[in-house]
Amino acid sequence: MRSRATVPAWVVRLYGRWRKKRTAWFATGICVAVAVLICAPLLMIPGGSLMDGAEMRQILSPILGDGRGFAAWHLIPVYPTIGHFYRLLIESPAFYQLFWNTVGMTAAILLGQLVVGLPSAWAFAAFRFRGRDFLFGLYVVLMLLPFQVMLLPQYIVLQKLHLYNHPAAVILPAVFSTFPVFIMYRGFTQIDAEILEAARLDGAGELQIFFRIGLPLGRMGIQAAMVLSFLEYWNLVEQPMAFLEEQATWPLSLYLPQITISQAGFAFAVAVMVLIPALFVFALGQDALEEGIAYIGVKG
């Protein structure tokens, strides 16, 4: 083992910097590899969306039920066609309506979750009250309940409230979902209890503490909750299927046809059109959220 004293200080510094960088490169490498691995199967989607029925059928014929050979996939179609996009964007006016339905529904849900879920999460994190643990446990269990079981009683409730077949039938239960509460709660618990105590001693009101301290410090939790909620509700399938009869009020996720090979190209095209806006909203929304929280933290 070399003693540190024998090596000049600048060598140590350089070595250290290189080492640091090496780790960073190494880490980046692994992460990029994983990200690529995760995204690889999705590369099939753009190709598929440009592929015409005959080609699709030909390369997938083994899956269609022919005894021999293996299916292949062309990442770039041999005979590309924009037919599916034409059908989707030009020939089906319903697409746009459903698209805006999705946007509206998701926006309403996320906003509602912020308004309703944030205080709840804060309450669980910042106050100790009797039955808190049990109540929180209950929240978690309610979050975990399978949808199939809740379908019937929720249907009854919605019908009693005259909400069935109204967009609110999907939005309201989602707004009151315990899922974002659970995630945001985690963000808040990492705030030091001492800070809160100090603020209280300083005579800050509970609302003030919530806005001034809670929100800025819990922002990672809020962000995570919103991102995950967005992904979840952008592709919501089962609830609208069960609670909305009117097709005009459906979100885009229900627009996908039943999967048959002859529809596959079209399905891929829909997927592209679902993904691209999602990415946009995602990128923009994250920034907006970050800034918004910072703003509230300063102003509130």
Partner: protein
């Protein structure tokens, strides 16, 4: 602190109570009176498709090949002799426009090109449709559109005369003004799609396509601002046809629009479109017809002309409740045109009842059968029960066991006593456990094979078919024997006649029978495959997929559909397994095939006569139940549901077998007299489709089934007693495993074991 908690709890309870009490009790509301009703208008003799309304309440009727007929405001009619019918044999008319004074313009194509010059111009794309104009006195001259804004060869499809007699026309991208004397065309404005209707309001012309309304100022010669509300309305209401007409009331100009969903009113210049009559409660909602013209009458009534020689007058009836007090809910998993039509008929007979027809899965969307069933079950469990359920693709026994379905023995007994229905078919629906009938199929398919007599003879079992195929293979070493492209097709064609044999009395699976089935079908598939090398097989698949299976058509449909497959493929395949899916077309289809073969398929080297017979499979006397209707035990209108059932079983409904869209082959009716009627050549309602009628009006039933064939069919119907219902769990399993067996992944024995294992889980549940 404690107090606070208590207060909070109290508030919470209050909120809850408010939420529930406000919504829980449903009060009986008073239904206001008055709504539009309709009555049919008797038309003069002839087949009319169109109507041109005149401002004074009179109108012109015309069909593309039927003489223009004037009907005055009092209802007296007079044919205007314009020589339309004389032209019927030489012209194919596409569009006609009629003016208030009786002048008319035609777009047509000659049936035969007698004029070489014209034909040359037509071929060069210089002209497409030809046009001529007939003035009010009946003088006619050809019209050749020309002018700066008009590109040669553009079709003019929609015509409208302004009140002053100016002619306006529309192509798929523009609207024009046409000089009826010279044929000079002036392009007025461009449109996104084909304009379908034009109405005139003073100087302003409103032209509407399927998604946009254009307002054109004729005096100024410019396009005015559009109207967003109208655009939205047009884009969502145009399917199935939309008609427009102007009317005025208290100095307000009102635009009326009629379409499938109802009659709407739009006050000129406003932004609100309101519904004044619900399509479902009037003739407008009839899915079998589309509206062609609308006339506003002075007394507040409307005339609506529909395709198919049908006109109604819609009038406001103050004695009718605004919406029907009673509701009958009919549910089916998939859209069924026959059931939908029955609802319309029922509603016509009961103006005080609203028939709500709901489908669980429709169109292109992600709702699967399981999702739809789950939604249905939610409703059933929540007590929100439909009155009538179409049980196709559902587990009838399960629903009967759970007390959802009502027993039908009482309703069906009179029909059985009088021998109106095929008793054996109805009896086949008896549920073993409680020994009651809970549902009844309106139509059935019957299994058939078709082929040369030397391969098969008489009623044949699974083994007979295998033996027949082997014989056929010896004679034809190359190519396919059956019309099966993929392993699944073999299963689809054979499973219905075998499946009922696999379950024992106690509901257990008969593994031996299943193994035997797998052995047989595997052999069939092997024999079929032996006629190809890999490339040949691929080519045959590709060919057939492109040729016979367009994108939207399921292979299963084609494989099953006897008449279709038999006509298309015989001579390329040598044995045909399938189902007789429609009474008339199916029977004539067989006949056509046989006749064709005798005539010009000698080159196929047929050695023996072509024949057909029942295909018994493992079960024997199988019928495939279609449009299986059950009534709900807890439905809100049990009496109405009963009446609805009686309507379904009535002769007028049963005769309308072709209405079962989108499948288009609904089956052989279970009512004896209806089936006989359908197969009766003298019955003009049905005789037209396949027979051929000479100019003197005599029917030539050249491909019509003979008396002998009809008797054979009736006998098959009498014998059918074993019900096959698609969509059971066992079928799904056996199909999935069967594909693996045919692909050689599993042996038949292993396959049967695998099915047994999966079924064991299902039984455990």
């Amino acid at each position: 602190m404690k107090k606070k908690v208590r207060v909070l709890l109290f508030i919470m309870v209050c909120v809850m109570c408010a939420a529930f009490s406000g919504c829980g009790g449903s009060q009986e509301e008073e239904i206001p009176m008055g709504r539009y009703a309709d009555r049919e208008v008797k038309l003069p003799p002839g087949t009319f498709d169109y109507m041109h309304p005149c401002p004074d309440g009179s109108y012109y009727l015309y069909g593309l090949d039927t003489e223009l007929t004037y009907v005055d405001a009092q209802g007296g009619s007079k044919a205007k002799d314009r020589g339309w019918e004389k032209n019927a044999n030489i012209h194919v008319k596409y569009e006609v426009g009629v003016a208030d004074n009786g002048a008319a313009v035609f777009a047509y194509a000659p049936r035969f090109w007698n004029d070489e010059e014209l034909e040359a111009r037509w071929l060069s794309g210089d002209i497409c449709y030809l046009y001529f104009y007939v003035d009010e006195k009946g003088e006619k001259h050809a019209l050749e559109p020309h002018g700066e804004g008009y590109q040669k060869g553009t079709n003019l499809n929609t015509f409208a005369f302004s009140p002053e007699g100016e002619l306006y026309a529309a192509s798929d991208h523009a609207v024009y003004r046409v000089n009826v004397e010279t044929g000079e065309v002036e392009s007025l404005f461009a449109t996104e799609k084909q304009v379908k209707s034009m109405v005139f309001m003073g100087d302003v012309m409103l032209a509407a396509d399927d998604g946009k309304a254009y307002f054109y100022d004729r005096a100024e010669g410019k396009l005015l601002d559009g109207n967003g509300a109208l655009d939205v309305f047009l884009s969502s209401h145009s399917s199935g046809g939309l008609v427009m007409a102007l009317g005025d009331r208290e100095n307000e100009q009102i635009l009326y629009m009629g379409c499938r969903t109802g009659l709407y009113r739009y006050i000129w210049g406003g932004s609100v479109i309101e519904q004044i009559a619900d399509g479902q409660m009037t003739a407008l909602g009839d899915t079998q017809r589309s509206p062609r013209a609308l006339q506003v009458l002075d007394n507040g009534a409307f005339r609506v002309m529909f395709s198919g020689n049908y006109m109604v007058e819609m009038y406001y009836d103050e004695t009718l409740p605004a919406r029907p007090a009673k509701e009958l809910t009919v549910y089916s998993l998939e859209e069924n045109g026959w059931i939908r039509y029955a609802g319309q008929l029922f509603q016509k007979e009961h103006p005080d009842v609203l028939v709500r027809y709901e489908t669980g899965m429709d169109g292109d969307n992600a709702v699967s059968r399981e999702d739809a069933l789950r939604n249905l079950n939610t409703r059933l469990l929540a007590g929100d029960v439909p009155d009538v359920i179409v049980m196709d693709q559902m587990d009838i026994e399960q629903y009967a066991d759970k007390g959802v379905l009502r027993e039908l023995d009482g309703i069906l007994q009179p029909y059985l006593d009088d021998g109106i229905l095929y008793q054996n078919i109805v009896e086949g629906m008896r549920m073993t456990e409680k020994n009651k009938i809970y549902s009844v199929p309106m139509m059935v398919y019957l299994p058939l094979w078709l082929g040369e007599k030397m391969y098969l003879d008489g009623e044949d079992s699974l083994e007979d078919i295998v033996a027949g195929m082997e014989k056929a293979r010896q004679k034809h070493p190359e190519g396919a024997i059956l019309y099966t492209l993929y392993p699944k097709d073999v299963l689809l064609q054979t499973m219905p006649v075998c499946l009922p044999a696999w379950t024992g009395e106690d509901g257990s699976l008969d593994v031996e029978k299943l193994t035997a089935y797998y052995q047989a079908v595997r052999r069939m598939w092997e024999i079929d495959c032996a006629g190809f090398d890999d490339a040949g097989r691929e080519a045959w698949q590709k060919n057939n997929m492109e040729w016979y299976a367009p994108e939207d058509m399921d292979m299963a449909d084609i494989g099953f559909n006897f008449q279709y497959a038999a006509q298309q493929n015989f001579g390329e395949t040598w044995l045909q397994l399938g189902f007789l899916m429609t009474p008339q077309v199916g029977m004539t289809g067989i006949h056509v095939t046989k006749a064709n073969m005798a005539a010009d398929w000698q080159e196929k080297e047929l050695e023996d006569t072509v024949t057909y017979d029942a295909y018994t499979g493992q079960a024997g006397n199988v019928y495939w139940a279609r449009t299986i209707v059950g009534l709900c035990e807890q439905g809100k209108e049990p009496k109405l549901a009963e009446e609805y059932m009686n309507l379904l079983l009535s002769d007028p409904m049963m005769r309308k077998w072709w209405l079962d869209k989108p499948r288009n082959h609904s089956g052989l009716t279970i009512r004896k007299d209806s089936l006989g009627d359908i197969l009766d050549i003298d019955n003009i309602e049905f005789g037209q489709t396949m027979g051929f009628k000479d100019p003197t009006g005599v029917n030539h039933p050249n491909f019509w089934p003979t008396e002998e064939e009809k008797q054979w069919l009736y006998q098959m119907m009498e014998d059918a007693s074993c019900c096959y219902r698609p969509g059971t769990m066992l079928e799904e399993c056996a199909m999935e495993v069967g594909v693996r067996v045919l692909e050689g992944e599993l042996t038949p024995e292993e396959g049967a074991k695998e099915v047994e294992r999966k079924m064991a889980i299902a039984m455990e549940e």
